[in-house]
């Protein structure tokens, strides 16, 4: 009799906790990053970010050691490959510097904002998501440093992701590789626009709005200026593609940033993201539906 009562209580508590969890998740999804969930997250981040910073500082040598040991076998091949790559890039740099100088001159003449001139805040990544399913990073800067939801996060290579939650001294970055992440892009080779989505893996999915113009392998995709500042490199097309039955053109893209090598990032605070300008309700619509081509760079 006693054991039956005990079993019953346990089961009732179990069902109750599962129900509470389910309700929490429902309200959190419906609140779209606001409400009680947001307050709890802010509190938890305020409390745990300093601890995570300290833990990250302590564990960094361990991570470096493990990384070094695991890569030991491939180091020689990697070295040779990199030496060849450096020679190739040195030649490209010389060509690019001249082209870049001309672009900056033209942008200045036309009154366009130059990305490198936009104010940015540098932040350190202090933690990642608890599991490999969550393509997020946590940084040590927040609203106190001028960061708001929706701002673009970049590194020296290009677009890393966007701020999707922010507290006073910390923020969460949704990486471009996350399946919930999407960004409007422009193919520099054709000037056509499209939509890039994360897939949780090392590659992204590209769908072009204009299916008539094929994309070629190696085409560089940059932000189209609808959500983020225009011209930020996003990725390169991995395989050429032409339209399927005349109305769909999709292929895979390799992101320009090395997600596994992220340590420091920059948050562009000098650009009004759509999220901050219009409020949260419209942001979710923007997230689901690819935005129309704004033509900012034209």
């Amino acid at each position: 009799m006693y054991s039956f009562r005990r079993f019953d209580r346990t089961t009732i508590l179990f069902i109750g906790l599962v129900a509470v969890s389910f309700l929490l998740a429902t309200f959190d999804v419906r609140a779209q990053g606001e409400g009680v969930g947001s307050v709890m997250r802010e509190g938890a981040q305020s409390l745990f970010t300093p601890v995570q910073e300290a833990a990250s500082f302590v564990t960094r040598p361990v991570v470096g050691f493990v990384d070094g040991v695991s890569n030991l076998a491939g180091l020689r091949d990697e070295n040779t490959r990199l030496a060849q790559r450096v020679a190739e890039l040195e030649r490209l740099v010389a060509e690019t510097e001249e082209a870049q100088r001309k672009v900056v001159e033209l942008e200045t003449v036309l009154g366009l904002e130059v990305i490198s001139d936009l104010p940015a805040v540098t932040a350190r990544i202090v933690a990642s998501g608890p599991t490999d399913f969550e393509e997020v990073r946590f940084i040590d800067k927040g609203t106190a440093d001028g960061i708001v939801r929706g701002q673009a996060v970049i590194d020296e290579n290009g677009l890393v992701g966007r701020i999707d939650f922010v507290s006073e001294h910390a923020a969460r970055v949704l990486l471009v590789t996350d399946p919930r992440s999407g960004v409007g892009v422009r193919d520099l080779a054709t000037n056509d626009t499209g939509w890039v989505e994360g897939r949780g893996t090392a590659t992204l999915r590209l769908e072009m709005f204009n299916a008539e113009e094929p994309v070629e392998e190696g085409d560089l995709l940059v932000t189209d200026g609808s959500r983020f500042p225009p011209g930020i490199p996003v990725g390169t097309v991995l395989s050429a593609a032409a339209s399927e039955v005349g109305f769909s053109l999709a292929t895979t893209v390799s992101p320009v940033v090395e997600i596994t090598r992220l340590d420091f990032v920059k948050i562009i605070v000098g650009w009004d993201p759509l999220d901050a300008r219009f409020g949260e309700g419209e942001e979710e619509v923007d997230e689901e539906v690819p935005p129309p081509d704004s033509g900012v760079v034209e």
Partner: protein, 170 residues
């Protein structure tokens, strides 16, 4: 004695979540592109020494902390960890003592936890099933957790002052 065990369990879960977010994952320790789920192992290791009610609450708290410090909707991991805690509490009286039983139990519970997270996450719009590596991200952490269990389970037993160090049942 009981309150001490609960306090130790909660402390271990908090440390596990902090280590999980700073030591494992992309750019950190992630052999073959997947990381162990330390929090699942710690919940299994601690809950098996607790009363049923306390065990369920420890599992729920650990999951909630993962939600708060992660990118998923609040409550998803809390639900998953509550299920893990519940099954651990049920299985501890039935599983045979021995390394193999413990290893299979940890593997199965980790795999179940990740499967449940993917299903519940998809239900709440997380698009986790679109992840091309989803099967690998469920299998490899389960294998890694089997190895971690060899360290974490005896450690939890020792810290919590439980009677037996190397058995599944407390």
């Amino acid at each position: 004695m009981r309150s001490r065990a609960v306090a130790v369990a909660l402390a271990m879960v908090v440390v596990a979540v902090i280590l999980q977010t700073t030591l494992f994952g992309e750019g950190r320790i992630q052999p073959f592109g997947a990381s162990p789920n330390l929090v699942v192992v710690v919940v299994i290791a601690t809950v098996r020494h607790l009363d049923t009610e306390a065990g369920l609450l420890v599992g729920f708290t650990g999951g909630l902390l993962m939600d708060l410090l992660g990118g998923s909707p609040l409550g998803l991991w809390a639900m998953v960890m509550t299920v893990v805690a519940y099954l651990t509490l049920r299985l501890r009286h039935r599983a045979d003592d021995g390394v193999l039983s413990v290893a299979i139990g940890v593997f199965a519970l980790t795999f179940l936890a990740h499967s449940l997270f993917v299903l519940a996450g998809t239900l709440f719009g997380q698009r986790l099933l679109t992840d091309l590596d989803v099967v690998r991200l469920m299998l490899l952490p389960s294998l890694y957790n089997m190895l971690l269990a060899a360290v974490v389970l005896p450690l939890a037993t020792r810290l919590m002052g439980a009677r037996r160090v190397d058995s599944w049942a407390a």
